[in-house]
């Protein structure tokens, strides 16, 4: 089987790399061990939460920090990519989610502060619309309503800590907490996923709304754990807002995270619809290389096993969590291709003595070094495989600035490898290519929170075609 691009990994990086490739007409195959690490994330898109990373004050706008970033961290991926490509990537992501029925709110030039189940705040750039009214810059009173038996969400603890932040003037709204008596999920265990499935059902929402009404005071916004629907969250959220006649928001939860699963499902469905092939659940992948080129992967350990070839490859296997990196007592290695990973020999230097020191943990920054085209390189700067790219957490220093770790490397390869696969494509490649995306529309949504967060000048967003032309990649 021959593809233009084979992507290894089904996390946000891998899925968005697939999106980028298919948009440019490539035949794409995704190979992955499991469902990727999206279910372990909040489902929000953090671009840059703090700058400098050791700052105690959350960044109100990632865009404004970009200039400083250019001066202080010239090698930071954002700088390499440039603002325009970043904007394009974010806009594309938002468009994709909107068309998939799970719109994301937010802009590159402003961060949201959203509440967490511990009663702290989390700065983020794009949030699912269902989290929008959780914005801690909007004043008012909020009822946090928990579910008896849902162990990772204590509305009382959250409200106590949020009210403390409120009393310090660090967040705008004030909080109150209530807990709803144990809901019956038809004998199923009470957890986030089962609750989310229940909220997909109309009658369950009806029953829930009746019970929730008793707790709500007039004028209060309602905060609930992020379990409002798995397959039809937007509908569930809108329906509940209508029934309870107030603004409702979801609070992101520890893993497994329902919004993360929703995003995974959305991207997977979208890509499949575009002709991208996903093979998930692979335990063994054997790379085949010729000199400095990757030829393909054999699926399974036998030499006679199925064999997939491609012109270009994207390594999006993540860090330790994703399984892209692994370690022994004094060694850290890349698991698929044994690419060099630079790290101190002494294990002691992998870690900072404080777990939650503001300086972060060195091991989060370990990974594969890449050149400006995101091709993995060796210690002398030499490209290891001419047709291999890396995306996401596997890249070294993907962690170097807090808040950037989820997103940046996922989207900007959008441009970088299109030429490679075109040039590398051979006559073996047959069959129809998925339709190119020509329908990207850019909508500048206005929502309540925009008037609250201090506005900065919003850069003009080009149409993607114009973007491409400017960057000299216009096909």
């Amino acid at each position: 089987m021959f593809y233009d691009v084979i992507i290894i990994g089904a996390g946000l990086a891998g899925l968005m790399a697939a999106e980028a490739a298919q948009c440019q007409g490539a035949r794409v195959l995704i190979l992955a061990k499991g469902m990727g690490s999206l279910p372990l994330t909040t489902g929000c898109i953090d671009v840059l939460g703090y700058f400098p990373s050791t700052s105690r004050t959350p960044l109100s706008s990632p865009a404004t920090a970009l200039t400083q970033l250019r001066e202080n961290h010239p090698h930071h991926p954002y700088v390499k990519v440039g603002q325009e490509r970043l904007l394009f990537a974010l806009a594309h992501f938002q468009e994709l989610c909107r068309s998939g029925g799970m719109p994301y709110d937010g802009f590159f030039d402003s961060n949201f502060l959203i509440p967490t189940p511990l009663g702290t705040f989390h700065p983020t750039c794009l949030v699912p619309e269902t989290m929008r009214s959780g914005n801690l810059s909007i004043p008012g009173s909020i009822l946090l309503l928990g579910f008896e038996g849902l162990k990772d969400f204590s509305p009382f603890l959250a409200a106590e800590n949020l009210n403390f932040l409120h009393s310090q003037g660090r967040i705008a709204p004030s909080f109150r907490a209530e807990i709803m008596e144990r809901l019956d999920l038809a004998g199923k265990a009470l957890n986030g996923l089962n609750l989310a499935k229940a909220f997909d059902g109309k009658s369950f929402r009806e029953m829930f709304a009746k019970k929730a009404k008793i707790f709500l005071k007039p004028g209060e916004r309602l905060g609930l754990p992020a379990v409002l629907g798995l397959h039809s969250s937007l509908e569930a959220w809108k329906d509940l807002q209508k029934k309870l006649n107030t603004e409702i928001f979801e609070v992101p939860m520890p893993p497994p995270s329902v919004p993360g699963i929703r995003l995974y499902d959305l991207l997977k469905t979208h890509l499949r619809g575009r002709g991208v092939r996903l093979v998930i659940g692979l335990s063994t992948l054997r790379p085949i290389a010729e000199k400095q080129r990757l030829v393909g992967f054999s699926l399974g350990s036998s030499k006679k096993g199925p064999f997939c070839k491609a012109s270009a490859f994207v390594l999006a296997t993540g860090k330790f969590i994703g399984g892209g990196l692994s370690s022994e007592r004094s060694k850290i290695y890349e698991t698929l291709l044994d690419l060099p990973v630079f790290h101190p020999q002494n294990r002691k230097e992998w870690f900072h003595p404080r777990l939650l020191g503001i300086e972060g943990q060195p091991f989060n920054g370990f990974g594969v070094e890449v050149d400006e085209n995101l091709k993995p390189i060796g210690s002398r700067g030499q490209i290891i495989y001419s047709n291999l790219f890396a995306a996401g957490g596997i890249i070294a220093q993907a962690d170097s600035i807090k808040g950037g770790r989820c997103f940046w490397v996922n989207l900007h390869i959008f441009f970088d490898f299109r030429i490679t696969f075109r040039m590398g494509r051979t006559n073996q490649c047959r069959g129809s290519h998925p339709k190119k995306t020509s329908h990207l529309r850019y909508r500048i949504a206005h929502s309540a929170h925009r008037n609250v967060i201090k506005q900065t000048a919003r850069p003009h967003i080009d149409h993607p075609k114009t973007c491409l032309a400017k960057l000299g990649h216009a096909g």
């Binding site: 204590s154 603890l157 002494n346 294990r347 777990l355 989060n364």
Partner: protein, 514 residues
């Protein structure tokens, strides 16, 4: 405040002394600068020695261990798992040591018996097939947290008082006779005074400092012992290496885990001993020789305790040669400070005997003729309490769910439920997550509290067991303590899990910026 005896130090010795005093009807107060078991008593391998380990080199210690082993199995059986133990001789070990050991044990009356290797391997199939000889001994594993708390709880029931978080800052004397102590509440800096006739210094590694406050002198050698906890109970018996004491010569099964001990290194770092990576690697590579799976099993934590040993400084080079026997010092006789006693050295296994001797000495001074009853009277444990293995925990969770009584498992690793924790903390004042952990095992499993600690924090906060506004700092304090123990053993799957946990706290909860 006024009392008869002030006991300083909430470790095994102090707790034992408090119980003994209380049972003999003597009014007493126990002061602990931190929490119960926060010193060496909570940082050992939880081994109930049979005495065999010391039989060859330290017969006095061995004799005491044997006697106390038998007593504790009677009075504290709910917190002892009578696993039995073996001494294993490997091809590279001194070939004459097994004979020496057997002879010494026989002389001391320790029931040690040569067992065919095939029989041992059948009982413990994970052991190395290279074993040459095996000697069976009556070692057992013991839960020091439960044991020590039971001592204090019984003492309190018969009238003694225990004050945690009170650090003694001065001893009041007139130069010849003590008459009280000054202590400070470490939580609110409040300073208070207690008048008393006797002070028992059971401050462990800090005993020298306490003696000095009273104008007495006491020289202690500090010996650090580091240990590694493995996620799996690879053996069901205590496994000793049959050679003179050395690093990595003991494996102790504890509930679902296995503890590998112990290094011995003179140190000056007594406040917050930490384990370094080389020590971990040494323990694992030595442990592996007896139990090959050690290196491929997940290590979940490393910790260190400091033994307070009485010994001449000449022994600096090798603190293993210093006797593990204890010493009771009457500073009235030695330094002319009447009323001040120090009890130092010894083992967890001999804590009761140490307490008995100490209280005997005080009773003699007082003219109190009540005999010691701690060796006969069983310690009180909650009726439901048995040694907490995962199997019985699972059975209980299943029983509850069969009764359709909804409950939540807060700690998935150790199967600790919300009800259980609520029950444990019901009658307690403010408490830390570490105290909950010691009472329930919550947070002791592979994720080391990574996932359950926010839940426990929420539970404590909702139950009013955390002072208002302190929940995040209590959580952070616990997480940092946990981090200290897991940092030296982070590689492989443990590092993978840790990255997820770190992401939870630093990313989602944003605790590194708040």
């Amino acid at each position: 405040m006024k009392t008869e005896v002030v006991v300083i130090g909430g470790g095994a010795t102090g707790a034992g002394v408090l119980r003994d005093l209380a049972l003999r009807g003597i009014e007493a107060i126990l002061l602990e600068r931190d929490e119960l078991t926060s010193g060496t008593s909570g940082r050992n391998h939880g081994l109930l020695h049979s005495g065999a380990r010391y039989a060859v080199n330290d017969p006095d210690s061995a004799r005491e261990c044997l006697a106390e082993n038998q007593i504790l199995k009677k009075i504290a059986s709910p917190c002892i798992e009578d696993t039995g133990g073996f001494f294993l001789s490997l091809p590279q070990d001194p070939p004459k040591y097994p004979e020496e050991l057997l002879r010494a044990c026989k002389g001391l009356g320790i029931p040690a018996e040569e067992t065919p290797v095939a029989e041992v391997l059948q009982k413990e199939p994970a052991l190395s097939p290279k074993i040459k000889r095996a000697i069976r001994v009556p070692d057992a594993s013991i839960d020091p947290f439960r044991l020590i708390r039971a001592n204090v709880e019984e003492a309190e029931r018969v009238g003694a008082k225990f004050f945690p978080h009170r650090e003694v800052i001065a001893i009041l004397t007139d130069g010849r006779l003590i008459h009280g102590v000054v202590a400070k509440d470490s939580r609110n800096e409040e300073v208070f005074q207690i008048s008393c006739r006797f002070i028992i210094n059971a401050a462990g590694v800090w005993a020298g400092k306490v003696a000095q406050m009273g104008g007495a002198s006491l020289e202690i050698v500090f010996s650090k012992g580091s240990l590694v906890v493995l996620n799996q109970r690879l053996v069901n018996s205590i496994i000793n290496r049959c050679r003179p004491p050395s690093s990595g010569d003991i494996l102790v099964p504890h509930g679902p885990a296995l503890i590998i001990g112990t290094t011995s290194q003179t140190t000056d770092e007594i406040e917050d001993p930490s384990v370094d990576e080389q020590e971990v690697d040494l323990l694992l590579s030595e442990g592996e020789k007896m139990l090959p799976q050690v290196s491929s099993t997940r290590a979940i934590r490393a910790y260190a305790g400091v033994r307070p040993l009485m010994g001449a400084r000449e022994a600096d080079e090798d603190s293993r040669k210093i006797t593990r026997d204890f010493l009771l010092i009457d500073h009235g006789e030695i330094d002319g400070i009447k009323g001040l006693f120090s009890i130092v050295g010894g083992k967890l296994t001999t804590y009761r005997l140490m307490a008995e001797r100490t209280v005997d000495a005080i009773c003699k001074e007082m003219g109190n003729k009540t005999p010691c009853s701690t060796a006969e009277k069983p310690l009180p444990f909650p009726a439901a309490y048995t040694f907490r293995d995962l199997g019985s925990r699972l059975r209980r969770v299943l029983e509850w769910s069969a009764l359709r009584e909804p409950d939540e498992i807060l700690c998935e690793c150790e199967l600790v439920t919300k009800k259980e924790v609520s029950q444990e903390i019901k009658n307690l004042p403010y408490l830390s997550l570490k105290e909950v952990q010691e009472r329930t095992r919550a947070g002791m499993g592979p994720c080391q509290g990574g996932f359950c600690s926010p839940r426990l924090t929420a539970l404590l906060s909702e139950a009013g067991k955390i002072p208002p506004g302190k929940s995040l700092s209590i959580l952070k304090e616990f997480l940092e303590e946990r981090w200290k123990g897991i940092r030296p053993v982070l590689w492989g799957p443990q590092l993978r899990e840790e990255q997820l946990i770190q992401a939870l706290y630093a990313e989602l909860f944003n605790l590194d910026h708040l």
